[in-house]
Symmetry: C2
Subunit: 206 residues, 2 copies
C-alpha cells in the first residue's frame, strides 16, 4: 500500500511528504539530527533549533526535546500544548543556524520565518507550521511533565503524525546517497555542523 | 595548555584519550551518536547500546539516556549510581550492533566484553569500564529521578569527567576527515547505521 501523501501537497508531486507509520516515527530522530522546533498560538508562528532531542518510546511514539525557559517557543508550546519537530537538511543550513541564534520576539512582526526566508506548510493533524526544506516532520502533543519542564527544560511529546521526504526516507529507512543537499544536520557548536554520511549495514548473524 | 592525558594510557601515545573540559562535554553527544552505556557493580562489568541519548545541561554537564527496565545494565546502574557513555566508531560497528542485541545476563561468565572481543580500560574518576575503540567517553554519576526512571526508563547523569580521541576531537570540535574508521555511528534500525559525514561551517554574520 502506498503511503498517504501530506494533504498540503499535490498528490502527483514525487517530493511531497509521505506519512510515516507512528511506531517507526522514532527512526526520523534515531540518528541524532538537530531539529527545528516549530510552534503556534493565537495567530503567531515560531521556530527555533534544538540539538538536545531524542526518541523516548515506540508505542505510543514519544519524543523528548529541551526548550529553554527564555525562549518564545517555550511560551507558545506551553500555551498551545503542542509542537512539531522538523528535521532540517543541508539545503537550509544557513536558516537552521539563524533561527538557533535569535528570538522570534525580536523578529520583524515576530515572524522568524519571513525574517530568514523560511516557509512553512500547515501540519495535517495539529495545525502546526511545518518547516519547508526539511526532510522529516513530527507533529506532537505535549505530555505534561511539570517537574521535567521546570527542572530540566525538558518537554515530552507524543507524535500524533509523522512525515518524511520520500527521496531520502522510505520503507522505514534513510537513503541519502545522491542527495547531498538533503543530508541531515548535526550541530556541534560555533556554527559548525556535521552532515550525516552514508549507511553501513552491520550483520551479526554469521 | 595541553589537555590532560587519560591516566590509563602512556603519556607519549598520540592516540591516548585527552580530557575534555566539562562545560564542553555536551559536544561529544551533540551531533547525536549512538552510545554504548557501560556499567559496573560488585565485580561485574557490562555494556549495551543506546540511541536515545542527548545533552541536558552545560554546567554542570548533564546528559540523559534511556535504559530499558529489562536490561542488566539497568540493574548495575541502579545498584552503583553511575554509568559511562562511550561514543563508538565505525571500527567497532559490529560489536556495537552485537552488544545492542543481547544481554550480559546470557553472556558466558556474564562478560559481554569478552563475548564480543571488546576491551575496556578503567575510568579515571568513577572506576567504570570505558570501552576501547570508542572516540569519546563521559563518566557520569546518576542524578536520581525516580519518576523519569520508572515512567520513561530515562536516566539523567552528571558528567564528572570526559575524554576524547585527539585524532578526531580537539579544541572543542570534531574533525573526522582522513579517519573514516573513527567516524561515529548513528543507528537507524535493523542493523542499519549511518556514519557521520563531514563538517560544514555556517556563517550568518554577513
Amino acid at each position: 500500500m502506498e503511503p498517504v501523501i501530506h494533504p498540503a501537497f499535490n498528490a502527483a508531486d514525487p517530493q511531497a511528504p509521505r506519512a510515516v507509520e507512528l511506531p517507526k516515527a522514532y527512526r526520523l530522530l534515531n540518528h541524532g539530527p538537530t531539529v527545528l522546533v516549530s510552534s503556534a498560538y493565537a495567530g503567531h508562528a515560531n521556530v527555533m533549533a534544538a540539538a538536545w532531542n531524542a526518541g523516548l518510546d515506540f508505542t505510543p511514539a514519544k519524543v523528548m526535546v529541551v526548550i529553554d525557559k527564555g525562549t518564545w517557543t517555550r511560551e507558545l508550546v506551553e500555551a498551545s500544548g503542542r509542537f512539531a519537530l522538523n528535521v532540517p537538511a543541508r539545503q537550509i543550513a544557513r536558516q537552521t543556524r539563524a533561527v538557533g541564534t535569535t528570538s522570534g520576539r525580536d523578529a520583524p512582526g515576530n515572524d522568524k520565518y519571513a525574517q530568514y526566508g523560511l516557509s512553512h506548510f500547515r501540519g495535517a493533524v495539529l495545525d502546526l507550521p511545518l518547516v519547508a526544506g526539511c526532510v522529516a516532520w513530527l507533529e506532537c502533543r505535549v505530555i505534561p511533565e511539570p517537574h521535567n519542564e521546570r527542572a530540566h527544560d525538558l518537554f515530552i511529546g507524543e507524535a500524533i503524525a509523522a512525515w518524511a521526504d520520500p527521496r531520502v526516507f522510505s520503507d522505514g529507512h534513510w537513503h541519502f546517497e545522491g542527495h547531498d543537499d538533503l543530508r541531515t544536520l548535526h550541530y556541534v557548536a560555533g556554527g559548525s555542523f556535521l552532515t550525516i554520511g552514508d549507511e553501513i549495514q552491520v550483520d551479526i548473524s554469521e
